[in-house]
Assembly symmetry: C2
Homo-oligomer: 685 residues x 2
Amino acid sequence: MLALRQALLSPRSVAIVGQSNDPAKTAGRPLKFLRQAGYAGRVYPVNARRDEVLGERAFASLAALPEVPEHVYVVTPTEAAVEAIEECGRLGVRVATVLADGFAEAGPAGEAREARLRDVVARTGLRIVGPSSLGVVNLRDGVMLTANAAFDEKDLPVGRIFAASHSGTMIGALLSRGKARHIGFAGLVSVGNEVDLSVGEICAATLDDPDIDGYLLFLETLRKAASLRAFALAAAARGKPVLAYKLGRSSAARELAVSHTGALAGEDDVAEAFLADCGIARVETFEALIEGLPLVARVPARPRGARPAAVAVVTTTAGGAATVVDPLAARGITIAPPSAETYARLDAAGIAVARARIVDLTIAGARYEVMKGALDILLGAPEFDLVVAVVGSSARFHPELALKPIIDRAGAGKPLAAFVVPDAPQALARLSAAGVPCFRTPEACADAVAAALRRRVPVPAVVRQSAPPGGGRLLDELEAYALLDRLGLARAPGVALAATISRAPALPFPYPVAAKLLGEIAHKSDIGGVALGIADGAGLVAAVAKMRAAVGAHGHQMDRVLVQPMIAGVGEALIGYRVDRDVGPLVMVAAGGVFTEIYRDRSLRLAPVDLDTARDMIAEVRGLKVLAGYRGKPAGDLDALARAVVALSQLALDETVAEAEINPLIVRPTGQGVIAVDALAKLNE
Amino acid sequence: MLALRQALLSPRSVAIVGQSNDPAKTAGRPLKFLRQAGYAGRVYPVNARRDEVLGERAFASLAALPEVPEHVYVVTPTEAAVEAIEECGRLGVRVATVLADGFAEAGPAGEAREARLRDVVARTGLRIVGPSSLGVVNLRDGVMLTANAAFDEKDLPVGRIFAASHSGTMIGALLSRGKARHIGFAGLVSVGNEVDLSVGEICAATLDDPDIDGYLLFLETLRKAASLRAFALAAAARGKPVLAYKLGRSSAARELAVSHTGALAGEDDVAEAFLADCGIARVETFEALIEGLPLVARVPARPRGARPAAVAVVTTTAGGAATVVDPLAARGITIAPPSAETYARLDAAGIAVARARIVDLTIAGARYEVMKGALDILLGAPEFDLVVAVVGSSARFHPELALKPIIDRAGAGKPLAAFVVPDAPQALARLSAAGVPCFRTPEACADAVAAALRRRVPVPAVVRQSAPPGGGRLLDELEAYALLDRLGLARAPGVALAATISRAPALPFPYPVAAKLLGEIAHKSDIGGVALGIADGAGLVAAVAKMRAAVGAHGHQMDRVLVQPMIAGVGEALIGYRVDRDVGPLVMVAAGGVFTEIYRDRSLRLAPVDLDTARDMIAEVRGLKVLAGYRGKPAGDLDALARAVVALSQLALDETVAEAEINPLIVRPTGQGVIAVDALAKLNE
């Protein structure tokens, strides 16, 4: 069968179904753009109502063509598009791209249409881009299968970056904003609603293209996360960086993605964890997406458990440098002062700098030798992972002073990034041409530096990533404990009693105790099903009777009660596992309690995780600082907590469990471990 | 005496002390720039070693001039600068600007030099800009008293904005980046280290200038907050908006400001509260500072207690609009869908839009009538405070479609802002020329919209703003309670006992009780000075004995103990008052406990506050959501909490108190009030 990559991006023959004779209309653009770009393959306009479009012969149907085209762009309205796709399937077309909307996002009728597309894909060798795709472009070969008005432009720079976007408009923004920064693309695909080919599959098809060095993704959703992960892992293996901007940091934007694309919208920290575990760098600002790849390409991905990265900032203007330091520090990046050795080297080189967090060359002077000398020393200093050079007004007027030395250090082994304080497009162009990653705003600079430094070595995908059936039964607490026992997680002992006890039972542990409704009910405490700190046997009998009445009043029957010793620690944590609908098995750690929810303070990773990763996760949860010896309080056994996270994450290898949560997990003092005193688990069907 | 405004910005005669004959040197620039700009006043270069500089006669000293110049720019090295300032004082010069550094930021010798400058100001009529000032510029009159290389530029646009900056380099960035966006300035001042004239005083001097419409501030510190506040209040009274970018969101950048400027760096949320109470809009991104003023000027400041603002987003590209929605929502701004009435109006106008959080015109089409009709309806809809229009690729190629209607609606009463998705400098220029606030990046757009909508009506300054002496004594808890009684704040009853009791005392309230060390010690619990939940008399005697031993072991003597009933509520809060070194009296509310610190979750205002403000503050504290009926928990008496905040804030009117804190303040169920169970207060000397 014809290689997907060829049919998708380098077809030798293409057809435009619905090509209009009016080049100003959306459906008139593809043929116009193909001709403007000098596409060398065979082009077949298809128009049922005209013999000629834009001065070329038009065919009545796909079946009437003299050959089966390798790629068909369907630019008709929705119903006709479905028919065209069915014809593509019948004829043996390899790839078809669909412009129309009106599918899954458009209610039941649209879903039915989408099912027809899926059916063609399942039955034939056809692969579909879209629907709602503004098209597929390979700028190197003039393949302009696009209805995107943004391509109506001369002198589009050709580059070595491949871009994929859920939004067609943002393809135009990448193109024009990239052009303004002299950044070109090899290819750009508006992936639309991914009924068949996903962002991941489309990008993966280009991985062996020797003229593509890296990837930019504009994501509105994580619709087919498994294929995105597979692509990201393969890209990492080839040393090709992937930089993504993902909408949906706010719930308002997530809601928008739902109404706009028909996709479901997960929580943003799930997307964040997913992208990070895929080794995909994520930026927050759109400009950093355009400007950031050269820097990401130069910063090695960090292994798990590595020490936090440290950045040196060297500048001819402290005020200008501070505009980068502020957003960089806000992203948790350490801006480190030079070591004593590095200061000694600066002194020896006659470069006078104050002892401060940044290397301010104001006193030494904005001169070539000064900046060059400082860069030589900082790029050679082992304490820094990356150097940011911030140049003031001289970048606009006298580039030979402080800009040129940065250009002359472009080949340095250590990553170097530049921010230019004044408006200085020529300075940026010179830096870019020399291969120095550089930025127009301090915020984009900080954003890209942080994204590059945070990029991690991706986690191998050891488990299936598709969401499981779910819907299985909730385990009662004793059954959930059995699961914890299997995973090697310490938990409180427990005795199951009949809920009708009238005399104090003999217990294998001392009072005070806790008593809890034992049954397949998730929110026991909401219906009066929990009593804590029961002091003695009489109290236990009374508490169970009261509980039975309360639970009954909520319409539940209570047959059994679980009695456990009260277990004290220096604090609590919450750990959880679930198979996320979008990204698959996830493990979570949080401080527990109401603050976890209010402050959204939790750390997530794709499961399973190793011990280094679990330690990184614990360090990310601000609320767990109270267990790390905060303000003289006794420290908790965070190593045991990390081991518990690792153990729980092993559920990713167990196809039967859909979710599990330990809340609270009592954290005891250092060396004394952690112990689960409540647990919840749900099976798959 | 000569008006400050004239001498500062429109002097009829100027002298440059230290003017160099080399125009490439920093000290060579002022004369060069004055002549380039065609300054019409009298210019006196002063150079002790030359008769001529840059082809003009040079004078040997200020005393040798034929007149006393109105404004002297001193561009000599540090020591000579101090002497020149002393000469200015002797001669009766009105304003002198000092370029040199080497003052307060440079240790004891520098501080001594700075004291000499202050002495001249105190003894004479001289006012000083700087030191470390790159100069004072009035572009309208060619007053270029500046050594800033950024002014070596032709065709600088003259505008109606006045800019003041702690950083000289950022003046250059405002100038060149403003020029690239066709934004001009009336004047720009590099205020330097504010030994005398502050940002606030310099701006205030221009308030009656009819050709200045608004102010941009680039702040590294709040060195003279009282004058900044006075200026902001006066600007608000004249309807002249003030937009600020303040460094120091991160502690790394604050540390930088300290080392760089010699200023002390306060916490960022204090600066945030101060600027907000001054009615100054604050942006986070540098580009929003440059682009944001036209929008801020159009959005009325919000009164205290007003409902949150709501924004409509209308677009030809949902993906592009989402890039604005995301950072806007992240800043807490509500993006609201249209009301049923508004939808009905859109339907009646034949504008097909999906029911979603934004008004997406994709289906209706990117045509003039569609965008114009939608804008007419949205700008007339009462549910919106502001409309953001986001235009896709057509803005670059076909401005007549979706851009022109925005321009044609520029005169609308309701604020309208535009973001253009592709690179489209001409579209931005057309929008700006028509008076439509517009933005180059989605992040700057969101930043400016949020800053404009959050800008509040400033709080009148009813109290002195200077930091008081402090250093007075710490009150014991009973004395602090007396203070609360005076303020009308409910507090727990308490009985003072001798710390030597050996028999259970008669108490006017039932057990259980709390016992606390009574004395002038701030952190009682750290030295074992607190016992809670004492069940009976015997327990009390034992607890007091134990406490006395513990306190003694910490080297303190304990003579008295305070006994109070244990008081239960549905939760706790922390409220505090202090006179901040930078900004003056402040009141604070937080959820209390370790999370207040870890999550930096507190709300601050300049004190005193009214009830509406206190309610706004409580709503800002995320941790206090647990007291607002969160997840079915009983609601706390947040109205009483608000009244308590108001009462405590009245300490701003009491010159004797330096700080006071109630922690915890027990919050009882709705209608049952709040009650202080611990209090701390410190007097002024």
